[in-house]
């Protein structure tokens, strides 16, 4: 069963790139452009992981992550940001991984694999049937 990933990214090009790449490696991908939409998606759709940008205009990723985890504390979250400095913000430590954006998506894909492998939550696909 394909794992379902929510990509939260305000930059359209980045969003499309991530969607294509994650779909190519075998994930079921849905995308939203901001933190508020992400929180709504998490509350309404079964998901296996969230890839989350930080610098977004409507609600930043750090704030959105806490709201996401307030809905589902075990949902894995991988931060994917252009800014390394948020790593020092304690709020970012709630994420399963912190990846600094680059042209090469290898690190992001590895962290997604690791986060999915270490999670103990029921799969989104199983939830759907119940």
């Amino acid at each position: 069963m394909k794992k379902k990933i929510l990509v939260v990214e305000d930059d359209k090009h980045q969003r499309v790139l991530l969607e294509m790449e994650l779909t190519r490696v075998g994930y079921d991908v849905i995308c939203v452009a901001g933190g508020k939409d992400a929180v709504e998606k998490v509350a309404t759709e079964p998901l296996d992981l969230v890839v989350l940008d930080i610098g977004m205009p409507d609600m930043d990723g750090l704030e959105a992550m806490q709201k996401i985890l307030d809905v589902d504390r075990k949902l894995p979250v991988v931060i994917n940001t252009a800014y390394p400095s948020f790593k020092d913000d304690f709020q970012s430590w709630s994420a399963d991984a912190y990846v600094v954006k680059s042209g090469d998506l290898t690190e992001l894909l590895n962290e997604i694999d690791k986060a999915l492998a270490s999670t103990t939550r029921p799969e989104a696909a199983e939830d759907e049937g119940t």
Binding site: Q66, L69, D70, F90, W93, S94
Partner: protein, 415 residues
């Protein structure tokens, strides 16, 4: 260059958000740390006095339930810190920054205030409870933590094993490193050198900040009780440097006085510890001043004692504004503006501010809430069955006369 004083890089987080259910009805209208204690104090004053005396003067007080009187007390009594020196005490109600729920446990209270740690950037976080009675110099505790290069240091006292079932019990190796920890164990493990005693956590912790943040964040992602004793400490004991700090009397080396006000019976006992000729807990120690907020009161006064044989005040704490008029008060603690009228008897009891004990009334092993009027000739603490029909009676037999119970009783008297 002299090393920086570790107290300057330490921050106190005082947990004052519990519901205090086991102290009900004393906590009906106030948070547990705001319950009156020792006549003029609130329970919280002891922890805050320790902070002030130890130079730990950057303090966040995490409040939650029924915090109005606590907030007011802190504002009126504890606005003593100097902001220009970086000192403060701030009360913080839940901010709902991380979660939309109230605090789900002690660890969750810290987790939900991670922003505070982000802002203050302390090197060490001293986590304290607002409902303990003791005198501790936190400088020694923090110095011990730094010297041991510990991730977490827990202040501990030896407690008889049969009492340890309601506390966190630590097992330590020869170097004082904690190698096992159980919260409220049914069969507490004994100290190696004393089979009758167990080493118990006081719920007083020093964390290196990053260790604390990682621990509460990890805990927040799991289905736990989000409790330091049940979850955080056992998890850290398994993989981090956790040290036990033995809380001792600096003069005698014996375990020092510490009371967790966990129940009305322990609250009553701790108050009774104050009234002995040589009290187990000394309020009159000028080396360790205990502060509070106290309204201006006229002096306590006793009248008509000479004309009434048996009247008098024996082994008691009497606060300002009290008038004891031809009555007998024995081993009791009276807060401000209490009236005890002619021929009344008050024994082994605690009377909150503004209580009036009517003519000929008798109280024994009773606690009377603020402003309650005990009807003339009535009796509490002598007949447990009769008391149970009217007021709260604890397992230890202490009668608690709340404002609501007193109103009902007065109505009954009138009909």
């Amino acid at each position: 260059m002299t090393p920086v004083d570790p107290m300057r890089s330490a921050l106190a987080m005082i947990l004052a958000g519990g519901q205090g259910e086991r102290l009900y009805p004393l906590t009906r209208d106030r948070a547990k740390p705001a319950v009156f204690f020792g006549g003029i104090y609130r329970i919280m004053d002891f922890t805050l006095s320790n902070c002030a005396n130890s130079g730990l003067r950057r303090i966040y007080l995490l409040t939650q339930y029924r915090s109005l009187s606590l907030d007011r007390h802190i504002r009126l009594g504890w606005s003593i810190f100097n902001a220009e020196l970086g000192e403060f005490v701030h009360t913080v109600p839940p901010q709902q920054r991380m979660r939309t729920q109230f605090y789900q446990g002690t660890a969750d209270a810290i987790f939900q205030n991670i922003y505070v740690l982000q802002m203050e950037k302390p090197q060490y976080v001293v986590i304290l409870s607002g409902d303990h009675v003791y005198k501790m110099d936190y400088r020694d505790l923090v110095a011990f933590h730094v010297e041991r290069h510990a991730d977490l240091t827990i202040a501990c006292v030896p407690v008889p094993r049969h009492q340890a079932t309601s506390l966190g019990v630590a097992q330590v190796d020869q170097d004082g490193r904690i190698i096992g920890f159980e919260e409220k164990p049914a069969d507490p493990k004994a100290l190696p050198d004393d089979p009758e005693m167990a080493l118990c956590s006081m719920g007083v912790y020093v964390f290196t900040t990053e260790v604390l943040v990682r621990a509460v964040i990890d805990d927040a992602r799991q289905d736990t009780e989000h409790d330091f004793g049940r979850n955080i400490v056992p998890a850290l004991v398994a993989g981090s440097r956790v040290s036990a700090y033995a809380f001792r009397d600096e003069h005698t080396g014996a375990p020092a006085y510490w009371r967790d006000i966990g129940s009305i019976d322990s609250y009553h006992e701790a108050n009774m510890d104050l009234v002995a000729v040589e009290p187990r807990f000394n309020l009159y120690d000028d080396q360790w001043p205990l502060r509070t907020h106290m309204e201006q009161c006229p002096p306590a006064k006793t009248v008509l004692s000479a004309s009434n044989p048996g009247a008098g005040v024996i082994d008691s704490l009497i606060s300002g504004g009290c008038i004891i008029s031809g009555a007998r008060v024995v081993r009791s603690v009276l807060s401000s503006y209490v009236r005890v009228e002619r021929d009344a008897e008050v024994t082994d009891s605690i009377l909150f501010p503004g209580v009036c004990v009517g003519h000929g009334a008798k109280l024994r092993r009773s606690i009377v809430d603020r402003g309650v009027r005990i009807p003339p000739g009535s009796c509490f603490g002598y007949d447990a069955e009769q008391d149970r029909r009217r007021v709260t009676v604890t397992p230890g037999g202490v009668a608690v006369i709340s404002r609501v119970a007193a109103l009902a009783e007065n109505e009954r008297e009138r009909t």
